[in-house]
């Protein structure tokens, strides 16, 4: 990845035009030719520097439901509980974190009712309390992981 790749990634994290020639517009703003931008994006996707080039949807606006949940898992049960939680297709991310609440995961479902059901099922299968922390407000972040 060189300086031009970095500029492309940084510019395209903030948005992409919805117009007839969006790559041409973006390329001009970056001082590149359209073909060079296309070639570089293609390569960055193929070598997996970028996971995707496209939309990020608002799951809730789509009628879906999302939440962040946490469990206090006893050390000796950590692997067992991880396997139970990860087996749920509703679990999108699951992280071990350095706290007494040591397992944190994101649940995403098509409907709010399914979310509640998944939370109950995880409690039933693990025998542990699941702390549900749905968002109240999301503060807008411009997004930038500077390349």
């Amino acid at each position: 990845m060189d300086e031009i790749d970095r500029r492309i990634i940084n510019a395209l994290q903030t948005g992409f035009p919805i117009s007839e020639r969006p790559y041409l517009e973006t390329a001009r703003a970056l001082g590149l030719s359209e073909q060079e931008l296309l070639d570089r994006l293609d390569r960055l996707l193929k070598d997996q520097t970028l996971s995707r080039f496209g939309p990020l949807y608002d799951a809730e606006a789509m009628g879906g439901a999302l939440t962040l949940a946490a469990i206090r898992v006893p050390d000796e049960r950590f692997e067992e509980v991880t396997n139970i939680v990860n087996a749920f297709p509703e679990v999108a991310h699951n992280y071990a974190r350095n706290h007494v609440l040591n397992m944190w995961f994101v649940l995403a479902t098509e409907t709010p009712a399914q979310l509640q059901q998944a939370l109950i099922s995880i409690e039933n299968q693990t025998g542990l309390t699941v702390y549900n922390m749905p968002k109240i407000t999301e503060y807008f972040v411009g997004l930038k992981l500077e390349a």
């Binding site: 990020l56 949807y57 999108a92 699951n94 071990a96 702390y131 968002k135």
Partner: protein
């Protein structure tokens, strides 16, 4: 509101836009929709916020961001909106949410900082604390130890079935 054509469009583009000079024309060809209609519908979907963002989705680790910390604060309810707004404008904060407190968990404001290493993240957090005057509030820093699972959330539009796209955090 949204109609079946909007959902077809959302389903068609969710795995990515074509990397070619006229991507919206190409999408239209697949769906039997004129380019102008694709552009009009996507512009609307973006304006309504249903498409939160259009552009590159990066892999943190590929860019060298190996440390990820979730920082939680207990902020008085009267201040949480103002401080959430200020924290989210910091250049290195990648996510910022207000969430409910629970009996065992007094924290109500969450942010994520992705950094190249732990020391950088801690230094950024200190700067954030100074800039937003956060030292007076109880907080905890939860670094991730292991990532067990990471995938796009399952999304099946009302009309058409789809492959998993990616969402921001819950």
């Amino acid at each position: 509101m949204l109609d079946a054509r909007d959902f077809e469009l959302l389903t068609e583009i969710q795995s990515g836009l074509p990397i070619s000079p006229r991507p919206y024309h190409e999408i239209g060809q697949t769906l039997g929709m004129p380019e102008a209609e694709v552009i009009e519908r996507l512009t609307f979907l973006k304006q309504t916020g249903l498409i939160k963002r259009l552009g590159v989705i990066v892999k943190h680790r590929q860019l060298g961001y190996r440390a990820n910390a979730m920082i939680v604060w207990n902020i008085p309810d009267a201040l949480v909106k103002t401080l959430g707004g200020r924290i989210s404008r910091s250049t290195f904060v990648t996510l910022c949410y207000q969430r409910p407190r629970t009996t065992e968990w007094p924290y109500n404001l969450y942010c994520m900082i992705h950094g190249k290493d732990r020391d950088t993240v801690l230094a950024q957090l200190e700067q954030l604390s100074v800039d937003c005057n956060l030292d007076q509030f109880d907080r905890e820093i939860l670094f991730s130890r292991r990532c067990f699972k990471q995938r796009g959330a399952l999304y099946r539009p009302v009309v058409a079935p789809a492959k998993p796209p990616e969402f921001a955090h819950g």
